[in-house]
Subunit: 412 residues, 2 copies
Amino acid sequence: MSKSQRELSLLKSVVRKSDRKIAMIVMDGIGGYRSLERPTTELEAARTPALDRLAKRASLGRTIPAVPGMTVGSGPGHLALFGYDPTEPEHQIGRGVLEAVGVDYPLGPNEIAARGNFVTLDANGDIRDRRAGRLASEEGIRVCERMQAAVSEPIEGVMVRVLPVKEYRFCLVLTGDGLSSALLDTDPQREGVPPLAPRGTDDSVSTRRTMTIFAIAITRMLAAIRDEIHANGFTLRGFSCDPGLESLTSRWGIRAAAIASYPLYRGVAKLVGMDPIATGGTLVDEFRAMFNIWNDYDFIYLHIKKTDSTGEDGDREAKIAAIEEADRFIDQLGDRTKEVIVIAGDHSTPPQMRGHSFHPVPLLIASPVCDVDEATRYTERECCRGSLGLMRACEVMQLAIAHSGRLDKFGA
Amino acid sequence: MSKSQRELSLLKSVVRKSDRKIAMIVMDGIGGYRSLERPTTELEAARTPALDRLAKRASLGRTIPAVPGMTVGSGPGHLALFGYDPTEPEHQIGRGVLEAVGVDYPLGPNEIAARGNFVTLDANGDIRDRRAGRLASEEGIRVCERMQAAVSEPIEGVMVRVLPVKEYRFCLVLTGDGLSSALLDTDPQREGVPPLAPRGTDDSVSTRRTMTIFAIAITRMLAAIRDEIHANGFTLRGFSCDPGLESLTSRWGIRAAAIASYPLYRGVAKLVGMDPIATGGTLVDEFRAMFNIWNDYDFIYLHIKKTDSTGEDGDREAKIAAIEEADRFIDQLGDRTKEVIVIAGDHSTPPQMRGHSFHPVPLLIASPVCDVDEATRYTERECCRGSLGLMRACEVMQLAIAHSGRLDKFGA
């Protein structure tokens, strides 16, 4: 048992009931950094009256998403915030599984999922366009249906399902006994070469059998889309099966809900046992949904995407605007002083870097028992001085649980 | 070997001699928190000229007693301050052992201890009062003597000892070969039901044998106190044996003494090899004792209880007064600038919560080699800014040892 597993099992041994709710608002990629040329971060430059008001009654700190220096994707970043150390081997989630649960496919224990990307192949079978001419979602659905028709018959007793995801992305699911996920990506990661054949990472019977079945399925599906102009080929990545994570309900005795419109976030949330709540997808819908279900859940996670996508575009002004927009919604949480409010990010996305980064992420916890810092704003600098200190993101959840009154005393 | 064990063994490999003394003053439950309604903590509100003077020449920081979010009892809280990670399985100490060593019983490796609570049973044998009418200590001693007389003969070669502790509490010790501590509490944790029979957590020969011996002893002792008005029954909890912790002397080469009048604290100190020093029990006695033995020991731990009990009572003013009282005694340490002075707490006890809490605990280390922070006071806020940072409590001891000059360089 690893140290963090041991610590968790001690925490679980003292869990008790409480009525205090926890709302965890994840502003994706919220963190940024100052440079001499840009002496304010986006959080500092934004007008954020609601976050300022929360900060004045909260404890602040910063999270390291996984390990110091490591830049994480949204999957590990979110897993950590939900309390699952993304560096533990049993917490590694394959891309295929994320896609499957993201489109609400109820992945079972005897299933293997892979993420598919449509590509455009040239006359030699080499990849000419890795995104199949930025295929529209409707087109993706149509091509998926053609592929599905080609594999409607089971292969050696194994069912094959083709699930459209979004644009040029789809998900392939194999259902059957004795399958293995020990397969390497077929994506060669560049253009001008053909997709790779599926290869195993071990030589077991189940891996070899799974390889064969994928090879047969791939041949049949390729034949079915040979005449497509853009999506006449595909690559497969992240062969994986459900990691069987302990649910938040089993761990903390809480009913948990997720309000996230992007598949990946909803997928991670479902893997840890949250109920996905369907919404129209705008912030208006999402915050309305949160208050609608407020009495039905102990823990509600709400995801805000735009703070990340604007950072990835390198668009500082748009990120500032995204923060200010989020702030107007967060304002509705301001007077919930009897509950636990967590404002966090899964990682930083500084516009200067046009992508995720390793910089620690600002964290805020407001609760009836929080130590009120001397902060006046939720910014990188104020969080740097906060009483929560610099902590691992995978410890945020247990702190939120503690603030909600759900942890009894350990030891005499 | 766990990470912390590995780190400790490296530290031990570079231990050297030094004459510098370490005084560790543990103000039980010292930490508190600010809220909007109470914008100062008790440490901030108290007049503490001695602590202020110390703070001006010290390094400050904060400790997490066990893991973030976890509220600990005084046992794990103290173990951590003495350098033993309370989350390690081999550092878990049963309640029975704590009671036994707390009343200065020299527990041996072939002994099992349990904590006993006298209860009042009604005519049906159900528990009517879980504290036996808040039995006086003299009464407890008398009833213990009656029980001891009933088990003066060994049972299957196993000796049974009944040790009075305080008020309605006693300690039961079994001495003999091949005993097991794998037994569940007989305390049903509520009134209106009878005490439970002793049951094993495994089915081994030694557990079944120990169960039988306890059952016989319980029957004989109950018969002996049947006619008591208040203490006509009892429950047993925390069956346990000496965990065999490495002593501070073996670990750091120091002679260590404990000045603590409450059994639990003296008990934990003895388990890590400190000599318990008998005192009259007041702070006057305790500080006098500390200076009396100053030249005979390298490390002296002194425990101050009232900062915790006032917090548990929810009495902010009393906690402030307890801090101010402690401060007047700590004043005597102020001019010991050549030694290491550690001011710490085993956990926080905010009056707002009327109990222990998970909030980090203020820490101060003054020594001839400490980095003098810009602090002017020993408070939560100043400690938040301190150069020691936010650390696990089980690392305080090795820092104190380092400040005392007892750690040589590691590596070339």
